[in-house]
Symmetry: C2
Subunit: 221 residues, 2 copies
DNA sequence: GAGTCAATAAATATCGATATTTTGGAGGAT
DNA sequence: ATCCTCCAAAATATCGATATTTATTGACTC
């Protein structure tokens, strides 16, 4: 590995590093939807060779964050109202499924992990910490953690990220208009602790639909 | 491109070719679950360079047909009873969703395409044609075609292929024990033509669960 | 005889260079 | 002016070679 790039010891392979970095750039909208992703350009940005960049882009293709155009390279996946709506719909269905399965298997460890995730999210929210996004995702995934359905978990994760991308794109807007998210989370949290699957699922879907409606208004197409 | 490899003009890029070929080898069980996929070895098999092989493997990773092991290369995804069960479960959920959406939007073109797909499948079945697998998939996808939910369609497609892999692995067994599949397909087909979503969904799920039960018995773990 | 450890062999990950394709114009004809 | 055609310029896809990392083997200790 190049001696010059002060790899802070975290990443193991150049490919993995490039993958994570590119993923972040696309999710946060620093690489814009539809934007052409030129290998040379990215090589410079990530200072690595063409192979890792190429492989990372291939991986992002399956995350549906990048599109491959026959022999014409890659571009950041485009966005659209209909894509947004579909993500919302699928998320509601899949997360409900996962949540019910998770609650059915829930044990004390799961419960404690959930309490922690909830606490961290609240804290990050109060401090307006930049960690909020991470904590928020962690909370939602903690809800689903005991489902023990790896494929479903993967889909939920993927859809969560696709959705978060729209939040970043509708930026400026501090994402959720503060609203009642805190209360919404609290409701889901409590219902989950009580193992009330019907209520938890209802609240969860409502939570998504609400932020969905809110975000949906932000853009045309 | 190498002059020697008599590329029959179909594939555009080496990567795409390698992707399709490897996919087939894994789906049909010619590359066995858990088997190490060495670059050199595959290079020979596909006669192409290391880069296309590597990229193809990356793509297959997101199809969940290949696993990447940190710095230790790739291997064909393992199989397990629980994985099989999850695929079955998710397929039932997602295809039901897609089927209902498809029927809701169904028009004359969709109907005609479905009739054709059904006909071809029947024909291939009677002739015991090797095209049956393809025709069967085409029929099932034709049912869902009008859903107009690209992400869901992709998931259904992916899960279909993951399932088909288990069919090949439980090989010898001419897959479905002849049973009543023909009748089952007929039922789904008719219900779909009548736009009877409840019935069609019920029959479809039943169809999957039946073959699922059948296959499930084939292997331990 | 089992468990380390070092040296070697194998395999992966990555680079730099090259061959192919696509893109973008600059003339020239209609 | 508009549409082709053909020619650079740019970008992609792919190769071959090399640096790194992991796996293997066999001697050596306890």
């Amino acid at each position: 590995m190049n001696v010059l790039d002060f790899n802070d010891g975290k990443e193991t392979s150049a490919t993995q590093g490039a993958y994570l970095r590119l993923r972040e750039l696309i999710l946060t909208g620093q690489l814009k939807p539809g934007e052409k992703l030129k290998i040379e350009q990215l090589r410079g940005l990530l200072n690595t060779g063409a192979s890792p960049v190429r492989e990372a882009l291939s991986l992002l293709t399956s995350d549906m964050l990048v599109e491959r155009l026959d022999q014409r390279g890659f571009r950041a996946a485009p966005v659209s109202r209909s894509n947004f709506n579909e993500i919302l719909l699928l998320r509601c269905n899949m997360e409900e499924e996962a949540l019910r399965a998770s609650l059915a298997n829930a044990d004390a460890d799961w419960e404690e992990a959930l309490v922690l995730a909830h606490h961290r999210m609240q804290k990050a929210s109060k401090q307006r910490s930049s960690d909020f996004e991470l904590a928020h995702k962690a909370f939602h995934m903690a809800l689903l953690a005991k489902a023990d359905l790896p494929l479903l978990a993967r889909y939920c994760d993927q859809l969560y990220d696709l959705n978060i991308r729209y939040r970043f794109l509708a930026a400026g807007v501090s994402s959720y208009g503060e609203r009642s998210i805190e209360a919404e989370h609290q409701g889901i949290f409590e219902a989950a602790l009580e193992r009330n699957a019907d209520l938890a699922a209802l609240l969860l879907k409502d939570h998504y639909k609400r932020t969905g409606q809110y975000l949906g208004r932000q853009f045309e197409d």
